[in-house]
């Protein structure tokens, strides 16, 4: 069982009441992975959202023909971090591959269909979680904006 104490500190669940966190808790499954295990692959359908409980997950860009390695790591996610917002965004496929990068990783897996049902039953909960997710995504979006300018060689003073 995932503790409510842990869930309340997860960024996308901030602001939920005790009862709402208990409802989210019921959608959570704990999964363990050994070092180098692949959690999901780039391009696969996104059926789940993941939250790291322990250890570190590397998100890697699978270059065609190359062997997956740390060199291809785009970002690393550790305890409390969430992965898989693509499950709410068309075309609902993972954009990167996820690998267990520490001796052992323990993750929470939340089924997309189940959590959406919960959002529809309790739209107040859905509103809070989606607002938090939009806030997290908007930061990522900003980073991508700046990187795009850098990559495009736009004029900078």
């Amino acid at each position: 069982m995932i503790s409510l104490e842990f869930l309340k500190d997860v960024e996308v669940f901030k602001g939920l009441s005790g009862d709402q966190l208990t409802a989210v808790q019921a959608c959570c499954q704990k999964r363990e992975f050994k070092q180098d295990a692949k959690l999901f692959g780039e391009g696969e359908p996104t059926g789940h959202r993941w939250i790291v409980l322990e250890g570190q997950v590397d998100l890697r860009c699978e270059l065609p023909g190359s062997v997956p390695s740390e060199e291809n790591t785009i970002s690393s996610v550790s305890a409390g971090g969430a992965i898989g917002w693509s499950c709410f965004v068309s075309p609902y496929q993972y954009r990167l591959s996820g690998y267990c990068a520490s001796g052992q990783c323990e993750l929470i897996r939340i089924g997309k269909e189940r959590i959406i049902r919960l959002f529809e039953l309790d739209t107040g909960l859905g509103y809070v979680v989606m607002s938090n997710m939009a806030a997290v995504l908007s930061v990522e979006d900003l980073i991508a904006c700046r990187m795009r300018l850098q990559g495009s060689g736009a004029s900078m003073p």
């Binding site: 997860v10 409390g80 068309s90 989606m130 930061v139 979006d141 904006c145 700046r146 990559g151 736009a154």
Partner: protein, 247 residues
Amino acid sequence: MVELEFMKNVEIFKGVTDSHLAGIHDFCTEKIYRYAHRLFAEGDKAYYLWIVKEGSVDLRYDPPGGGTSEKNTISSISTQKTFGWSNLVPPYKYRLSAYCANESCRIIRIEKNQLLKLFGQNSKIGYVMMSNLTEIVGVRYHQLQDSAWVSPHAGVKISVHMATCGIAAGAREVMNALMDEMAKTDRLDIRIMTAGCIGMCDKGPNVTVEIEGEGSVIYQKVTPDKMCRIFNNHILKGTIETDLVLT
């Protein structure tokens, strides 16, 4: 005059019922802007959500201290599309500047406070619209990511550790400062990453700098000002900021 029929086809209202849409319609005002007029600037308080009715709007990153230029356009927003979403997410400040990109643009503005009040009264509308917003931001993020894919073999890697503990300590502000510094350089061999917690939560926010052939340096208790120092001295000049290194 904002027509209800037009609003039904706007992406952020997908799934909102006609009766709820009629309620939102009351908060909408329509304005016309001329070419190159700035609708809002990066950093301004975000009072409105905006929808393009006619014409197109360029969203630009105007670097600090610099003027605007079409080269700095991040994306162009066309009819029925929404922009200025920052009014719905903290810290409620616009992250980019918006300019009318046609001879004239017809734009719908929706007041943020009225929208948030409505969401508070009716969470179903809030849930539907925030779900749509997540999808809109996510799709744009995917597009930007595709066009900005940076080589994973860059000679310099800067990782901002943005786990929950890092964010609570100010890692987001550090990332923003780093991005501002990046915007001022034309170096293409620098790759910025987000990374997880390194287990030293009381010494966060942490930033790791890895320069090819030189090993890695972890900095502790980084603030936006310290990030600027690290970038300008360590990354650009090769001098490690020893007093900021994690001990």
